[in-house]
Assembly symmetry: D2
Homo-oligomer: 365 residues x 4
């Protein structure tokens, strides 16, 4: 079992996503975090690096230096993990990709479609070694759902519905930080923060591309400068319809991401807050829950049935796929640059439609 | 306890809704079915009436005669229950109302907005003694939800989401009968058949009026001449948003009507297939299920907690309210003509919006 | 559809079970309540009868007169429904059976095994037309469970677990009335009131006879003169084990009757508070819920899938079976005298075992 | 954040529990696995150690050498993790404790009460630095449940019910390995393997000591030499009753550990397969689910509400407590030797009672 040296940009201890990435890496047993630029503030970056046990010479004050130096070390990092706010994702990614270092980057790709297109143009040939952290696609039962759809368990698809509901921005006093700052987080607000997860999940499991959206985009809580709730009609080609509802002000919802897909033969449901089961229902009154780890489930997992896996195990599965990417193997389920581009195009099309009273708008990645 | 003599138009034994009305009446103990015109076919009407024990002279061959004769009898019916297909609802209702006999009519009100408006103009002064069978508003926990919303348990409302999913029209071979016939069932298809239930539920519980819709309306199954699936964005005044999704081709769904309302203080969920509980969730991680019959629930019901009430008990509650109406008492929760008009306006606005690629359309009742 | 005239003994309006029986009868459309002795108090009996619309001459002041007079009328009752307290069940039943009038009696059969045996000896040949109101066996999905077990869906059985938990006697101030009076309700307390339901359910669905019990029997709430909580080990022949837990002081439980049966091939679960589904699970990670009314379910019901049936519909099914009994047809699922005897023997064996520190005790019906 | 060097005895890659311990350690970020004797087979021990990246000189061929050498190294292990089969737990633990090295040991403590008592006598003064892996006590919501019970949220307790159901030994062909070998796994079979978890959970959350048991102990599957199913009545002092049902042949159950506690004021339920919520119900019809990570929950956790934690996070919490133990801090929730002793006494008392037809037997730790 090979272990890969990793560097992290952003994600000082206390930042939610930094900790999550570190624990997910640890779960795999395939990565060692050995270098970092954990903060834009040079002093803080060094202190934070020391606090998580990094060697002083690998606690970098900025990412440009880090990319350059690590590329030159014989024991340099094999992967740069980017957990900075949205507006710097692509600057950082560019630095490492240019230095020949693969990247695993938080979503959304960036804050504007223009920036996304420019980046894609620059790095599209050859396809960059770049993974996007669409975490929820790492759940075993999400992957099993995709497999079942592909194998025809649902028959021809008719409709795809996805919801992602939170309530942590539900009051004017909520501390949304940079996520509510249009410049740093992007104009999409909840669309970028969680809507892109939902959008990726819908395409990932269904295997279909969403072509058009018609949206209602709102800021329901006074003082929010970016959208905190949106409801979007989806078209997947001529025959398949869908909906995507995203809210960060849905009081009483923690992290309620739910996917339903209906086909001619069966309907499927998966819910992130109870990720261990996947339900298939047919029109004769049968509703069958498949449990992760059971013999009836083909996608692999870490633990036996009934020993709950959760969010970190899903995240670790992306890292396991990233290890395959580094190793030159196929990792067909790992979200890549193109998935990030589609997410950005989804945000842009949704904002455009919302601003034009719901006119159907094409998603152009 | 007074018992009211009742007549029924439509609903021969074997027709789903006729049986349901008869059992719901029986549950209340306040009604006796004594007269009927159970079929358009005169011979069948008489045979069917006899089969359910009616006296021969009160098995009518058509409703006009029935209205006239019953109005003249000293022991004539006090209520006419209309369970014919949609296109004859208002003709029948007119006959009985003109004869001075109150009416309880199946939904939707009729097949076109024009017919609805003409009827309303004719009977609006004074307000007719006419109830509409929006069954789901009869569930105790739906009424409790309405009470809680009124009492401010949710705070200012933000969003209202309602779904009504079935799958019995999911294949081209399904026997939809007159419900799929545009002339008899109306152009609304699933909008009239179940969408009006969902629409009424949203307004009934929230206490708000939906002002505008933006709709995607589809016939997903080959051969369906009327819509079988629609997804509709809702506006309730300037500050409250919503969604309504209705489908009769959602494979695996039996009769899955679900309502969610989100306010500043709490979110509420009720699901018709598990009608005995109502869940309120707050942003601190509490999710509280209230059980019908428990001391914490104020709206009355028939049975103690844990002895499940279902669809027929909900239906019986409408009949209990109708008995109040007949008795000249207040029955503020009983759906009336105006609710039927709003349902018809909802169908019309949705079809209009759907035909115009989702343009926001005002609901004009 | 024949309608049978019925008389009721006990069950004045306001008494829970009297109302339930009347509504269940009404649901079937096969019975007319035409005579009653609704109270031991003659004046109250007459007033109560009048209040539910009975003719004055058929509001009886005592059951002996009622049995004699009704037996002589040409339009006399075809069924006597007994909803008195436990200690008079058999006196009343004897009067009607001797008068040639079939009986439907509340459970438990009586208050002592001696009384049960004497009654059985007197009426055993020919088998009396006597039904017992083991309500829960009337649920469609309970009957479907029995069918599946018989058909081998579970394979050879291993274990049977049944729980029946309530909390309405949970405080010393609870108004248990005659149910807590040893003379009237019997020494079994919760064993007679709800334990016999659980015991019948276990035998009804499994198709096996329980042969021995080892019990812990308690009065957990101060002041209770009869058991309010008991946990009982069960043996069903040499190879099948089981457990039965009954409590009326389990805080937070409404009417939580649950059955689980495990076989070599599958496990089965049914819960009375959500009676519309039955779940079968296998060792490969599949758990399949069957919905009442779905095509996959063979036992009949009143309403389509997704239109919830509840407690009254289950009760009505017993009455529908009783109508078969009156008509001379087979009604193999209707609980009869023998089921009542087994319930009484279960109470006696459990009390004996509990009094002897759990010694295994044979059930002798 | 201090990192502790750790050694492992047993648990070669592929063994379920070895992997689990390694991942749980990794999740904490507080431990480095640096030495091991992963197998009794010396060659395999070395190969396995190398395969997980250990230095060759710290891949030991037996645990005695390992204890001696590691105790002498200045960078020697601070904790010995014992994941061998049951019969060697105490031999290994003795070696390390005598060498001054703290121990974290799998449950059950050992295979016989005699061995447990001898060990306890030898190491009881001063209390040894020895933790037992009662994993389920590491779940946040289990700890929250304990806190709520202590704080009186349930009022005076009445009953404690715990079930632990699996089905992986459900057929004669199941590969139970040493767990079905009386010499290696102990005579308790399922009692040792999972019953001790359930027993610990009941005492841990309730805060009460179980004093007596009355048991039915069975081998339901042909060929099993040790118990695979047992049902046990519990007494917790004079006023609190309870039950414990454990099975490894309950077809359809994965790892279904469930705890219910009933008090005068409320009832509590927690289920391991859905570990993120804890439900409290009261007699007025309220049932409130508390979600891990919500502000209403006081016990800490790693991830925010709605980002599921599972089995490994629970396990990691035991390791975090073990780090406190190593650091000389208090870790009051960490299972210790005494918990292991009580588990062994529970097995012994249950086997004794089962062998004597359920006679009530005192638990003597």
């Amino acid at each position: 079992m090979r272990r890969w040296p990793v560097g992290m940009i952003g994600g000082a201890p206390g930042a939610f996503m930094g900790d999550v990435h570190r624990r997910a890496m640890a779960l795999t047993g395939s990565f060692d975090l050995v270098a970092a630029n954990l903060s834009r503030n040079p002093k803080r970056a060094c202190e934070a690096g020391a606090s998580i046990g990094l060697a002083p010479e690998r606690c970098y004050e900025n990412w440009l230096t880090m990319a350059r130096v690590e590329a030159q070390r014989t024991d340099g990092i094999a992967l740069a993990v980017i957990v900075t706010p949205n507006d710097t994702h692509l600057m950082v990614a560019s630095a490492f990709l240019e230095a020949g270092i693969p990247v695993l980057c938080e979503k959304p790709l960036t804050t504007t479609m223009e920036a996304a297109r420019n980046f894609a143009t620059r790095f599209s040939v050859p396809s960059p070694q770049m993974a996007l952290a669409y975490t929820y696609s790492g759940y075993t039962m999400v992957r099993e759902a995709r497999r079942l759809v592909r194998n025809g368990a649902l028959g021809a698809l008719r409709g795809i519905q996805v919801e992602y509901l939170q309530d942590w921005l539900g009051s004017s006093e909520s501390e949304g930080g940079w996520r509510l700052d249009k410049q740093i987080g992007g104009a999409g607000g909840c669309l970028g923060d969680i809507g892109t997860h939902a959008f990726h999940l819908a395409e990932f499991v269904s295997g279909l591309e969403c072509t058009q959206v018609s949206a209602r985009v709102s800021s329901l809580v006074t003082g929010h400068a970016v959208p905190d709730d949106a409801q979007i009609q989806l078209r997947f080609g001529p025959c398949v319809v869908g909906g995507l509802w995203v809210s960060q002000v849905a009081t009483g919802c923690g992290n309620d991401l739910k996917l339903r897909i209906f086909g001619e033969k069966a309907g499927l449901e998966w819910r992130q807050e109870q990720p261990e089961t996947l339900t298939l229902s047919t029109s004769d009154g049968h509703s069958t829950a498949l449990s992760r780890g059971g013999r009836a489930v083909q996608m692999p997992s870490l633990l036996p049935q009934g020993h709950p896996e959760g969010y970190l195990e899903a995240f670790a599965r992306l890292y396991a796929d990233a290890a395959l990417m580094l190793d030159g193997q196929e990792a067909p389920l790992l979200p890549r640059l193109n998935d990030g581009l589609r997410g950005q195009a989804f945000i842009e099309a949704t904002l455009t439609s919302g601003a034009q009273d719901g006119v159907w708008t094409t998603i152009s990645a």
